[in-house]
């Protein structure tokens, strides 16, 4: 699961007469990732396509033209390829029929358009009441026809001998040629533009009726022609789609020799085969006759530009659903570890911590589960699966760590500093408690009557879980930051260990540097906890949540560090545990020796990486504060007595909850991916691998 499928370099050599049979087998078994022949050896040249290649390509081209004419769309997911032996003849026959039918349709369409224009040109004339011959054949008269201007009466002033005919909103003016331009100008000022008088004879009404009858007739024919094409589309769509897929396969096979090397009598195929599939492949090929198969297992590259084997990742089950998140970053190279498994563990935990709410978590688990069940396979479905797992983790954390749902805690929690004060200074604790209860009287909770004398707004649902932390209490936030940093330590250590594995065979120097970074990481971690612990030790509230957590970590992860044994570095005056100082010095020496003299400065970036995980706490707190503010305003409205305000409050509350539900998931999702990509991957993951694509696979997956 951590390594890509083992590959072997394969060389297939055979006599040319067996070429076609071999291609057929390679295409069927789908286990050879072909390496294109570059054409650089004496006596060898690029292969020629198989004999039927040109013919097949031509058929495919024709078929696509037909499909385009009939507007047949290729469906997502494709169809089973099926090219019957007589496919070429059928395509030719179909092409002829469809070309004729399509030309006919285009001709009719042209006629219909033409008739439409003619009818439009002749619309003014029936209402004017003059036969067409009345408009033509004058030696001294000009005829102007056009839409009626607003004021036609003034025209007689321009030309005393003008004769006007009007009707249907149109005007025909007969003017002596001498006054034509003056009349035109006068008309033009009123926005008149003249239309052409058709060169025809007869009664305009009859002419128009004749054209309209023609138009009706041709329109019917156009519908008929379109209907015939539609019938053909329905009849042949299935055949065309199947034949297209089949022909594509055939073309792919026929053109495969273009990727091979050939001499006069032999062919050579070069490629990569998963080592486990070498023997079946050899058996298949040798059944065709005298085909020789030479294989060699992939080895670590001897020099930089040696070709790397293609990568076939072997994730199954849950990690497989996270593979797209790795591929989106980069495909792992053949010689390095596949980080998918780690991502599939890290993502849901980080997402769950940032959401940390039983309500949103459960909703995301359901929504993601539904999406995963209903969607077609693909990246989005895998993302839904990731959201489902993240939602589950968020529900678990929300129930048992923070004890809250939809931003409302199950129970009011007394701040941990007041609880801690109870043991050391009961008087101060009592006064602080009294102060806090005044504030707590406005805070929301699911259960009612948690604290005697505190009547806070509540929903009356008693979930019997005592929250360990509250996202909006200061000392609990410090505890959350410390938890985040602890996760950073574990996650980053894992990253460096993976880096060591990756570099082991490559460079021992880099291995030493990775070890040094781990030492620096743990040294810095110990410094952070020693500071917090020193604060807690002498404090009157040393039993607060974050102090308890610090004691827990110093007992489990840091017993070796002896956090109490501090040394102060002279000049700068910083105190740190002696153990940290030793670790940091060793780390600095190693990286200075193996990487570069200035590399010890990079220890600061390890610290930055660690603090970067504080976003786990940060996003959780920011989200809780946002929805907390909405809830505080809107829930009392819903719980109130006024019906109108109840409804308004409920609508606004649903909107606010949805906003936080989606925005929270977007930011938590992006940050969870980012922590894996930036902080985690960069420590060990180079990527840039080539995906294993065996010959013949493309069409098979589409089918």
């Amino acid at each position: 699961m951590l390594r890509a499928e083992r590959m072997s370099r394969v060389l297939i050599v055979g006599p040319k007469p067996l070429l076609e049979g071999s291609v057929e087998i390679l295409h069927r078994v789908q286990s050879v990732h072909l390496v294109d022949y570059a054409g650089a050896d004496e006596g060898f040249e690029l292969g020629r396509p198989l004999a039927r290649s040109a013919e097949t390509s031509e058929s495919l081209l024709k078929l696509r033209a037909i499909a385009a004419t009939l507007k047949i769309e290729r469906e997502e997911g494709g169809v089973l390829p099926d090219a019957p032996p007589d496919v070429r003849d059928r395509i030719l026959a179909l092409e002829q029929r469809i070309t004729e039918e399509e030309e006919n349709r285009k001709r009719i369409e042209g006629l219909v358009q033409d008739l439409g224009t003619k009818i439009q040109e002749r619309t003014p004339f029936p209402a004017l009441g003059l036969p067409y011959e009345a408009y033509h054949g004058y030696a001294s008269l000009a005829v102007l026809v056009g839409p009626m201007p607003k004021d036609a009466a003034g025209l007689e002033g321009q030309a005393p001998r003008i004769e006007l005919f009007t009707g249907g909103g149109y005007l025909a003016a007969f003017v002596p040629k001498a006054q034509e331009s003056a009349v035109r100008d006068a008309l033009g000022r009123q926005g008149f533009s003249s239309v052409e008088v058709p060169e025809t004879e007869g009664d305009p009404r009859e002419v128009l009726a004749r054209y309209q009858a023609d138009l009706e007739k041709w329109r019917t024919r156009l519908t008929e022609a379109e209907g015939r094409l539609q019938t053909m589309r329905e009849k042949f769509a299935d055949f065309l789609l199947k034949a297209e897929a089949g022909l594509e396969l055939a073309v792919e096979k026929a053109e495969a020799p273009l990727r091979f090397a050939t001499s006069e009598h032999t062919f050579v195929v070069e490629g990569w085969v998963p080592t486990a599939r070498v023997d079946p492949l050899r058996a298949e090929l040798q059944r065709t006759g005298n085909v020789h198969v030479e294989t060699e297992p992939a080895h670590a590259p001897a020099h930089e530009d040696e070709a790397e084997p293609p990568v076939l990742l072997r994730n199954r089950g849950v990690p497989k659903r996270f593979q797209f998140l790795v591929s989106l970053f980069s495909t792992p190279s053949y010689h390095e570890l596949d980080p998918t498994l780690f991502l599939s563990i890290g993502f849901p935990i980080f997402f769950g911590l940032m959401i940390g709410d039983a309500g949103y978590g459960a909703l995301w688990a359901v929504l993601g589960g539904l999406g995963y069940a209903k969607m077609k396979p693909g990246q989005f479905r895998d993302l839904m699966f990731a959201m489902m797992l993240g939602g589950l983790m968020a529900t678990i954390f929300g129930l048992f760590v923070w004890g809250e749902a939809f931003g409302i805690p199950f129970h009011l929690k007394i701040p941990s500093d007041i609880v801690a004060l109870g043991g050391t200074n009961p008087g101060l604790a009592a006064s602080k408690y009294a102060e806090w209860t005044r504030e707590a009287a406005h805070e929301l909770s699911w259960a009612c009557g948690d604290l005697a004398g505190v009547a806070n707004p509540c929903l009356g649902v008693d979930v019997p879980v005592v929250p360990m932390m509250n996202k909006l209490q200061k000392l609990d936030i410090v505890a959350m930051l410390l938890v985040s940093i602890t996760l950073a330590l574990l996650h980053l250590t894992a990253a460096f260990v993976l880096g060591i594995v990756n570099e082991w065979r490559h460079s021992k120097k880099h291995v030493a540097a990775k070890v040094a970074w781990i030492l620096a990481l743990w040294g810095l971690f110990a410094i952070i906890f020693s500071v917090v612990k020193a604060g807690c030790d002498g404090w009157i509230i040393g039993e607060a949540t974050h102090c308890q957590y610090t004691y827990f970590v110093s007992g489990t992860l840091l017993p070796w560090a002896d956090l109490g044994n501090l040394v102060t570095i002279p000049v700068v005056g910083i105190s740190m545990p002696l153990s940290s100082l030793v670790l940091l010095l060793i780390a600095a020496l190693i990286v200075a020796a193996t990487e570069s003299p200035v590399a010890p400065m990079e220890i600061a970036s390890v610290l930055a990486n660690m603090i970067s995980y504080a976003r786990l706490a940060g996003i959780g707190v920011a989200k809780a504060a946002t929805i907390g503010a909405f809830n505080l305003m809107l829930v009392p409205m819903v719980l109130g007595d006024d019906l109108v305000w109840k409804i308004v409050g409920a609508v606004l509350l649903v909107l606010a909850q949805m906003l936080v539900f989606f925005l929270g998931a977007i930011s938590a999702g992006i940050q969870a991916i980012r922590l894996n990509w930036v902080e985690f991957f960069i420590k060990f993951f180079k990527g840039n691998g080539t995906v294993f694509r065996p010959f013949g696979e493309k069409t098979a997956t589409e089918a």
Partner: protein
């Protein structure tokens, strides 16, 4: 509430504002370039996003410092 408490709270606020503005500005620069790079080569999506969200760490540092300051308020 003591004056010191108010000053600490203001310091926390200024820290958040400053680091948030710095992050926004840095992400604007990187984000613009990233979208350009993705338009030319969609394969860069993953790397681009990784680079684009890098400056977010600045605001996280700000947040940590602000929370540290706020936690001083209870400790007086």
């Amino acid at each position: 509430m003591a004056v010191e408490t108010g000053l600490v709270a203001m310091a926390a606020g200024i820290t958040m504002a400053g680091s948030a503005i710095a992050t926004a500005w840095a992400e604007k620069v990187v984000g613009g370039a990233t979208v350009g790079a993705i338009a030319e080569n969609p394969k860069l999506f993953g790397r681009g996003i990784a680079l684009m969200v890098l400056p977010e760490t600045i605001v996280i540092f700000g947040l940590v410092v602000a929370l540290q300051l706020i936690s001083k308020i209870v400790a007086e």
